[in-house]
Structure formats: structure tokens, C-alpha cells
């Protein structure tokens, strides 16, 4: 290991995946995946259900333990057993389909517990940052509420803010709008769009094709645990190359 984060230059990918394999028993959920994510990119991962897209995303911060292959994050091999994954996870925000807010804490506590306990930031400073982010997503007045008092869309916006409070270098979104009522999808996508504008690096698993077209810098199409196609959204949605992608797009649009 000769690279360290100080030596990272602009060309070093933020995340580099090499021959990633994940199997559950005999079933290969991920079959030899290799790709890179550059700083500032918005990568949208699509594909039919069971294609391995969520598993791929969850391997990136090792919530799912890869069976084989390597993942480099900011130049460090995080699949190495000696890597302290907890340190790196602090720099990789993750947003879940079912929000997973902590129901026993107020919104403010949800947002500040990790920065205070893990980054040693003072409560005052953590709350100030949380408040300004809450204001940005339009929920500044809900800091003393509990998650159970919020709507799904509000919960997901809070979940995004919870990750942002850690100042991550990349945000991973695992179907962030799939559990929402239709009329609440927009408010969450709006926040994500806003993040994209601010050059946040993002990897997003989603079924929102219009959002992908509009915001993605690159689309990854997966099926059967493999990356079938990778392209700009304009090219991918207009001229899908593989038959599998053509079939998929014809069914959903």
C-alpha cells in the first residue's frame, strides 16, 4: 500500500471497484463487478429487481461483506480486513429505503449524535450545523419532533440530513423514494437534485428514470449481478446497446 489520501490527485477515483464478487451460498449476487466513481459524479444504478444493484451499493460501505474483489475508497483498500471500516464509513453517507431514523431520539438528536460521539464536535457546533441543514431542506421547525410524528417524505429528508451532518465525501442512496407515497417523492428528489448541484458525489439505486435522466452524470445498468451497460443518461436512454437494457426500458417507460 503506497497510496495514501495525501497523494490523491484529481485523477484518482473516489471509489474504485475491482472484480467485486458477493455470493450467498451458491448464488452469485454480484459477479465480477469493476467500475469507478469520480469525485463529483452522480452515478445512478438501475436494473430489474434481483439484479444485484442494492447489494452492490451496500458492498461499497461494507454493510454487505464482499466475498471477493477489492474496493478502494479515497485510495485505501477498504476490503482489507485490517482497515478500520468505521473510520471510512464516517465519510460515506448512506440513505435507506425505509429511512431508519432512530425513533427514540428527537430529530436534533438523530442529526447530532454521530458527529458528537464520533467526530468529537461540540454539541453547540453540531446543533448549529444540523439546524442550517434542516433549514435547507425546509424542516427547520421540526428539530424537537420525534420521527414518528413526521411523514415519509419528511423522514427521508431528515435521513439525508443525518448523513450530511457527518460531512461525507460520497452519499449512497438505496432506493430512497421506493417506500414513499407518490406525492412525497418530489420533495426528496428535490433535496437530492440540490446536492447534485453542489457537486456532491453520489451513487443512487433508484427506479425514478426521469430523475436519472435529469441528474445522473452516468447510468450503470445491472442484471444478474453484472454490469451490462455503462453510459451517459442521454445515450443510455436513447440508444441502449444491450438487448437486456432495451427490454428493461421498454417495460418501464
Amino acid at each position: 500500500m503506497t497510496t495514501n489520501s495525501a497523494e490523491l490527485n484529481k485523477d484518482t477515483p473516489l471509489i474504485k471497484v475491482e472484480n467485486l464478487v458477493k455470493s450467498f451460498g451458491n448464488f452469485n449476487a454480484l459477479d465480477n463487478i469493476s467500475t469507478q466513481i469520480q469525485k463529483g459524479e452522480v452515478v445512478v444504478i438501475i436494473g430489474p429487481s434481483g439484479s444485484g444493484k442494492s447489494t452492490f451499493l451496500r458492498c461499497l460501505n461494507r454493510l454487505e461483506e464482499p466475498t471477493g474483489g477489492k474496493i478502494y475508497f479515497e485510495g485505501v483498500d477498504i476490503t482489507d480486513k485490517h482497515t478500520n471500516i468505521n473510520k471510512h464509513r464516517q465519510r460515506m453517507g448512506m440513505v435507506f429505503q425505509h429511512f431508519n431514523l432512530f425513533p427514540h431520539m428527537t430529530i436534533m438528536k438523530n442529526l447530532t449524535i454521530a458527529p458528537i460521539k464520533l467526530q468529537g464536535i461540540s454539541q453547540e457546533e453540531a446543533e448549529k450545523k444540523a439546524q442550517s441543514l434542516l433549514d435547507r431542506v425546509g424542516l427547520g421547525d421540526r428539530k424537537n419532533s420525534y420521527p414518528g410524528q413526521l411523514s415519509g417524505g419528511q423522514k427521508q429528508r431528515i435521513a439525508i440530513v443525518r448523513s450530511l451532518c457527518m460531512n461525507p465525501d460520497v452519499m449512497l442512496f438505496d432506493e430512497p423514494t421506493s417506500a414513499l407515497d407518490p406525492e412525497m417523492v418530489g420533495e426528496v428528489l428535490e433535496v437530492m437534485r440540490d446536492l447534485a448541484k453542489q457537486q456532491m458525489t453520489m451513487a443512487i439505486v433508484t427506479h425514478e428514470m426521469n430523475f436519472a435522466k435529469e441528474v445522473a452524470s452516468r447510468v450503470i445498468f445491472m442484471d444478474d449481478g453484472k454490469i451490462i451497460e455503462e453510459n451517459t443518461p442521454a445515450e443510455f436512454f436513447k440508444n441502449p446497446k444491450s438487448d437486456r437494457a432495451k427490454l428493461f426500458l421498454s417495460k418501464i417507460i
Binding site: 460501505n61 454493510l63 468505521n86 473510520k87 464509513r89 464516517q90 460515506m92 453517507g93 448512506m94 435507506f96 425505509h98 431508519n100 431514523l101 432512530f102 425513533p103 427514540h104 431520539m105 428527537t106 449524535i113 454521530a114 460521539k117 464520533l118 420525534y146 414518528g148 410524528q149 443525518r162 448523513s163 457527518m166
Partner: protein, 235 residues
């Protein structure tokens, strides 16, 4: 004799059982012993139970701590498979048989170890009832396993199992009534001693029963209050 007692007035019998020769002291001193055993046994039980529950649920979730899990299983099987009186007698006559030790300490240890086994299963059920997403959210923020347990999983688990824990506390309080087997003068034994002196069963035994009942009702109320306070976040 019986006829004599029956013909005696209520006040006379009350005086005979509680006032004469300061017999009320058996009840009061016994109550003190019962409460002392219960309070310290509960503390041991909760600490022990929490440790066992964490070991067992960690093994179930991650496959780690295999050896500790096996030890915990043996502990649960043995303790839950034998009567508490037998455990008390074994600890007093065999384990501490040749040691000079305060009987109250023996009872505290015996009931604490016994209660720990039941509390462990209560806590384990509580931990397993928490959605795995809570765990993943904690880990994804960078908390390690122990921090995630401590800050995120356990507080929610505790809230979920509070009614069951309250129940265990009540059971434990009443189970200490077998302390007389090692000649400890707890509340039950105290009442029984009065009965053997006055040959009147009614007054001392009903008094003892009413005292247990009152304490249980107070405990139930306290657990209810705590539950209501913790439920603040559920709306």
C-alpha cells in the same frame, strides 16, 4: 385452644399476634430482609441478564463469541431447568458450605443468578425485536458494534421489554419467600414464626399476604409510570 382463640375478640387477637412481646418486629425485620434481597438480586439479575443477552444476540447476528454463547446456553438451561429453592440450597450448603458468609449475601447471589437467566431471555427478545435497519443505520454512520448497541439498539429494546421486566421484578420479590429454607428470617418466615408462637394462623399470614400485595401494587404502578415516560417518543 382453638375455641378459645375463636371466642377471643378481634382486638385481643391483634394484640396477641403483633403487640405482645413486640411480635410486629418479626414482620418489619422480615420485610427489610425481603426488600434487601430483592433489590440487590434485581441489580445482579439485570447486569448479568444484559451481558448474557448481548453475548447471545451478538452470536445470533454475527456468529462471533461462539464459546461465550455456549457458556451462556449452559447457564440458561441449568438455571431455568431447576427450582430456585434447590439452587438456593445448593449455593448455601454446597458452594458456600464451608465458608462463613452472611445468609443474606447467599440469598442475594442465588436469586440474582436465578433472575439473570430470565432477564437475559427478556433482553434478548427485546434486542431481536429491533429492526435490523436500525443497526445498519448506526453502522453506516460509523458507529462500531458496541456503540450501535449502546446508543441505538439497547435503549429501544429496553423500552419494548419494560412490561416483561416489571413482571420479572414482581416474580422475584415473591420468590424470595423461600429464603426461609436457609433459615433466613424474611417476611414470610417472620409471619410463620408468629404463627408458631401464637397458634393463630389468620392474623400473621393474612398480614404477610397483604404486605406482598401492597408492594406488588406499588411496583406495578411505578413500572407503568416509567413506561408512560419512555413512550413519549411514540406518537
Amino acid at each position: 385452644m382453638t375455641n378459645l382463640l375463636l371466642s377471643a375478640s378481634f382486638a385481643e387477637r391483634f394484640t396477641l399476634n403483633f403487640i405482645k412481646e413486640d411480635r410486629w418486629k418479626y414482620i418489619v425485620d422480615g420485610l427489610g430482609v425481603t426488600l434487601t434481597i430483592t433489590i440487590f438480586a434485581v441489580i445482579i439479575g439485570i447486569v448479568l441478564g444484559m451481558l448474557v443477552a448481548i453475548v447471545r444476540s451478538t452470536y445470533e447476528k454475527t456468529g462471533k463469541l461462539w464459546l461465550f454463547d455456549k457458556i451462556c446456553r449452559v447457564y440458561l438451561t441449568v438455571i431455568r431447568g431447576t427450582p430456585v429453592v434447590v439452587q438456593l440450597l445448593i449455593i448455601y450448603f454446597i458452594i458456600f458450605g464451608s465458608v462463613k458468609i452472611d445468609k443474606i449475601v447467599v440469598a442475594i447471589i442465588a436469586f440474582g443468578i436465578n433472575s439473570g437467566a430470565y432477564v437475559a431471555e427478556i433482553f434478548r427478545a427485546g434486542i431481536m425485536s429491533i429492526d435490523n435497519g436500525q443497526f445498519e443505520a448506526g453502522r453506516s454512520l460509523g458507529f462500531n458494534y458496541a456503540q450501535t448497541m449502546f446508543y441505538i439498539v439497547m435503549p429501544q429494546a429496553f423500552k419494548n421489554v419494560l412490561p416483561a421486566l416489571g413482571n420479572e421484578l414482581i416474580v422475584l420479590l415473591k420468590e424470595t419467600s423461600v429464603s426461609g429454607y436457609i433459615a433466613l428470617q424474611d417476611l414470610t418466615k417472620g409471619g410463620d414464626i408468629i404463627r408458631s408462637r401464637t397458634f393463630d394462623a389468620f392474623f400473621p399470614l393474612i398480614a404477610v399476604a397483604l404486605i406482598y400485595l401492597t408492594i406488588v401494587m406499588i411496583l406495578t404502578k411505578l413500572v407503568e409510570l416509567l413506561e408512560r415516560r419512555l413512550r413519549n417518543s411514540d406518537h
